[in-house]
């Protein structure tokens, strides 16, 4: 891209992609912003003109708002902790040479390919069901009273399901990072008198910090908007309503597009706040 001609040619060729992407993002964003200031009730009179900031005030003052924000953060943080910790351990394990390595790695990645709705249903009915689920059988085998997972442990259930789905992603990225570690560094540390645990703490973890940052950032973006897992399991009951789910309820169950759009704008703000915090905490790892 040295000459003027090649630069403008490059711009021209990039234009379709840029226009498409901009349209893809800008149109829904603008529509959300537009509807959030309208009093729009599709089944009760349709679009009834401007509402000012009424929707925003109503959404925040609703008793469901703060619990939903907390639930969202709780689920995101829980899943992040579980996937990163187990991801590091699994990656260490998979990095060891073993028989059938290729097959094991594919099996580990497999949950990532299962659709969220499907995995939610499978977990709910085959594992967590209090009468016929696998867990219930295990509990009964040890003579314990089976747990009503969906009712008494809604957060644990959802975090469990979502973690199961995202663990392969974390493992995969961390595994590639571990494989890029220079083995001479580990040997040098061994010669320097560092036992295995200290080698892990002083050499492997710092080496993985950048990959962990990437995992945290990418997962946060996706986890803030999880929906299907909640929809098919608790359907937002028992306090497991996230911000995304609240917005869904406002738009479709209450048929209030304006209120839901205002919630959508709050969700954008929340996502950005979380992103800024994350960047502050871990972003320095991304500097070279």
């Amino acid at each position: 891209m040295a000459t003027k001609a090649s630069r403008s040619a490059a711009r021209l060729m990039m234009a379709p992609a840029v226009v498409l992407l901009l349209g893809w993002m800008l149109v829904p964003l603008t529509m959300t912003l537009w509807f959030s200031f309208r009093n729009y009730l599709p089944l009760r009179g349709g679009d009834q003109g401007f509402a000012g900031f009424d929707n925003y005030v109503r959404f925040v003052t609703s008793s469901a708002f703060w619990p939903a924000v907390l639930a969202t953060l709780f689920i995101v943080v829980g899943v992040l902790i579980i996937t990163v910790v187990l991801g590091v351990l699994l990656a260490l394990l998979l990095d060891q040479p073993m028989w059938g390595q290729g097959i094991v790695r594919i099996l580990v990645i497999a949950p990532f390919f299962v659709m969220p709705t499907v995995s939610g249903l499978v977990w709910k009915n085959m594992f967590l069901d209090s009468v016929n689920g696998l867990f219930a059988h295990i509990w009964r085998f040890f003579g314990a009273q089976p747990v009503e997972w969906m009712i008494h442990q809604p957060f644990a259930s959802i975090i469990l399901i979502v973690s199961w789905q995202w663990l392969p992603f974390a493992t995969l990225i961390l595994l590639t990072a571990i494989q890029s570690l220079d083995s001479e560094q580990l040997e040098a540390a061994e010669m320097d008198g560092a036992p295995a645990l200290k080698r892990f703490w002083f050499i492997i973890i710092p080496h993985l910090s950048r990959a962990i940052t990437v995992v945290l950032l990418i997962q946060t973006i996706f986890l803030l908007s999880i929906f299907a897992e909640i929809f098919v399991t608790t359907a937002g009951a028992f306090g497991s309503k996230t911000l995304t789910y609240l917005i869904f309820q406002r738009v479709l169950e209450s048929q209030n597009v304006g209120l839901g759009s205002a919630g959508g704008v709050y969700a954008i703000i929340l996502a950005n706040i979380v992103a800024i915090f994350l960047m502050r905490i871990v972003g320095k790892n991304l500097d070279a």
Partner: protein, 334 residues
């Protein structure tokens, strides 16, 4: 302090025997260089001594103590790796202090030793930098610093200069030799570069396919190579090896004559040939002489002022007292 003895040591990876039974003693305070072509097992041998690989059989003694099954950290050896293996996320100070921190020395003692090492190695201005911000030579010094703070019984160097450019390599060679003279600690140094071996070593160990071909001081190896392999490996440019009738005249299967022991002349001499490529180094000129009827090429060292051109007919006269004679089995005939 640092006498290292290997007796009957072998190493196999699966069915492949990399090191056949091998005996070797490195005396305390000695600078020993393992040299050989790549794949000759010299790095493996070093890693066996370091404890990073387990021996398949045999015994390693350090200071008379059996160290065969002692883990690397407990052997009291320090190693400098080819890639330096610095910890990229730690500052130079923390890198150098790492072994002390692992040994749980108190902070003041750590600082004292790190500062001392930094002074010796001219790293004082760089202590707060990270390895990524240093040049190759500085990184090398940090790696050496990390080794010397432990005050080990012996230093192990695994091709430490091969990632440096030629000028730096000469400088670091001197620094490591100087360090050895000052610390008077055993050093084992692995290289494939025979110039490094010749210039630094007290004792050179020439290896081929895991076998020790010869052990001796640099000049012993140069003056009396035990076999054809050592003859060809030590010395730069290589010794000229001549088979056939010319060797028969000296009652040998093969004779060897170093380039510096042949006189070249345009008028008369024992052998004749045609000048091929000539390499001018300024102080010396190396002529590659063809069509001598003795070998493909005879390399001759001449004074830098001798001027002969490509295609000139020349005469060569070897110094008869400098001819090395070898038998059909490749061994030196005395």
């Amino acid at each position: 302090m640092g006498r290292i003895t290997l007796s009957n040591v072998t190493k196999s990876f699966g069915d492949v025997e990399v090191i056949p039974p091998l005996d070797l003693t490195i005396e305390d305070g000695e600078f020993a260089v393992f040299v050989g072509p790549s794949g000759c097992g010299k790095s493996t041998l070093l890693r066996l001594i370091a404890g990073l690989e387990d021996v398949s059989s045999g015994e390693i003694q350090i200071d008379g103590q059996d160290a065969t099954d002692v883990p690397p950290a407990k052997r009291g050896l320090a190693m400098v790796f080819q890639s330096y293996a610095l910890y990229p996320h730690m500052t130079v100070r923390k890198n150098i202090a790492f072994p002390l921190r692992m040994a749980k020395l108190d902070k003041a003692e750590q600082d004292r030793r790190v500062n001392q090492a930094a002074e010796v190695l001219n790293l004082t201005d760089y202590l707060e930098r990270r390895p990524g911000q240093l040049s190759g030579g500085q990184r090398q010094r940090v790696a050496i610093g990390r080794a010397i703070v432990r005050e080990p019984a012996a230093f192990l160097f695994d091709e430490p200069l091969s990632n440096l450019d030629a000028a730096l390599r000469v400088g670091m060679r001197l620094e490591i030799s100087e360090l050895h003279k000052r610390l008077n600690t055993t050093m084992i140094y692995v290289t494939h570069d025979q110039v490094e071996a010749m210039t630094m070593a007290d004792k050179i160990v020439v290896l081929r396919a895991g076998h020790i071909e010869q052990v001796g001081s640099p000049l012993e190896l140069y003056r009396a190579p035990r076999n054809l392999f050592v003859a060809g490996f030590i010395g730069s440019p290589k010794m000229n090896l001549i088979d056939g009738p010319e060797a028969k005249k000296h009652d040998a299967h093969t004779i060897g004559i170093r380039p510096e022991h042949i006189a070249i002349s345009a008028e008369k001499g024992d052998w004749s040939g045609v000048v091929g490529v000539s390499e001018h180094l300024g102080s010396d000129t190396f002529f590659h002489v063809h069509k001598t009827g003795l070998a493909d090429t005879i390399t001759v060292r001449a004074d830098g002022e001798v001027s002969l051109r490509h295609g000139d007919k020349v005469y060569l006269s070897p110094r008869l007292d400098m001819i090395h004679r070898f038998g059909a089995d490749g061994l030196r005939l005395s």
